[in-house]
Symmetry: C2
Subunit: 202 residues, 2 copies
DNA sequence: CGTTTTCTCATGCGAGTGCATGGTAAAAGG
DNA sequence: CCTTTTACCATGCACTCGCATGAGAAAACG
């Protein structure tokens, strides 16, 4: 929906905010959450500190913006996976794989996500954002599980919601060990397939 | 093994270091990883900044010390669980439960652990410490799974190592969602039992 | 005792922090 | 034209940071 603007200086605010959010992402990824500062982000975004302050009045607000953009990004990626319209079970598998740090881009996303997981425990606003996004992800998983059950690819006695929670927890829990180099991408994929195999319909 | 000391001022270095590490833990828990500073930790430990610097020359070293103490602490807790000598399957269940944020003390430990998971992605030394501790935990899990299999409580066709990885990943992955308030402790325990139920021997 | 070694402290330094402020260019409306 | 609104920038302020330094207190040894 187009905003009814506004007299002077035609500037796309959403674009600017996304630009800032992505700069925050890069800083978190490259130098960690502790290196995030207004100056550092401004430099990374190629704009002055005052310009950043114009769109984001406080550091906490800046981080919250970056967190929300992560959520949007994940949503877009998962929607793209869902659009493939393959077998329900393959769809489920691809969805989980999309969230795992199996290549550079997904590692990039997971580094940032992990940083926010830790940060959100201490920051109430970030925790609220997490509580908002989590049910969406879990219901997305559960829906795909139910579809696979309906298609006869997953056992019907499975509790879709619980399986969704377990599957998502597995995906999140394997992230650090993988980023730290304990698992190879192949091993992670093998673990997922091993787990999914037992959910198959007999 | 007792250290051969040393002339003056009888001071237990290990005790001092543990004292500092625990102060770091409290700061991370209460105010987050970003609030950890030499001054803040010194104040929390009730000692001067210079005293802290005597035992720990740099901030990174201080964090590494705190991380290693977390590993030791977890090891002690798990050893205590293992000492209960109940049924192999109950032992496995209790071991996982011990790592989940189901009460205040375990939440305390998990907050700190989650902070270090994020931090270790950016800090090489911390990552190395993680890579050192992970196999121990996983083999601990795997061993208990094998024991349960030998006791006829878990299906023999299960891959103990993979099950251990999945179980541990589940435990780690559920942490943030629980700390953020998405799951109640009861729901988490129910999820674990739901998962373990399918591993039962027929 | 005094010497030696261990331990602790206060302080300083340069750099970086979040945030506020005042000023200014630019575009649209009158 | 001039005014108004938007967008941006440079700078200042009070504070904190990690770390280094040098002095001094405390305890064992001669």
């Amino acid at each position: 929906m187009r905003k009814r603007w506004a007299m002077p200086k035609i500037v796309d605010h959403d674009d600017r905010r996304r630009h800032i959010a992505e700069a925050v992402h890069r800083v978190i990824h490259d130098r960690g959450m502790e290196s995030v500062s207004l100056r550092e982000v401004a430099a990374e975004a190629g704009m002055s500190m005052g310009a950043v302050q114009y769109y984001v009045t406080t550091k906490d607000q800046m981080l919250l913006l970056a967190l929300e953009h992560i959520g949007v990004w994940i949503g877009i990626r998962l929607a793209a996976v869902a659009a493939r319209r393959s077998t329900p079970l393959d769809l489920l598998r691809d969805t989980v794989l999309e969230l795992l740090p199996l290549d550079e881009e997904r590692s990039y996303l997971n580094r940032i996500g992990l940083a926010f997981q830790a940060s959100s425990v201490v920051d109430d606003d970030q925790a609220a954002a997490m509580r908002l996004g989590l049910p969406l992800l879990l219901s997305f998983f559960a829906e795909q599980i139910r579809a696979a059950q309906a298609a006869g690819q997953l056992a019907t006695h499975l509790d879709a919601d619980k399986e969704a929670s377990i599957l998502y927890a597995f995906a999140q829990g394997i992230v650090n060990a993988t980023l730290v180099g304990h698992y190879t991408p192949e091993e992670v994929a093998a673990l997922l397939d091993y787990h999914l195999a037992r959910l198959h319909a007999g």
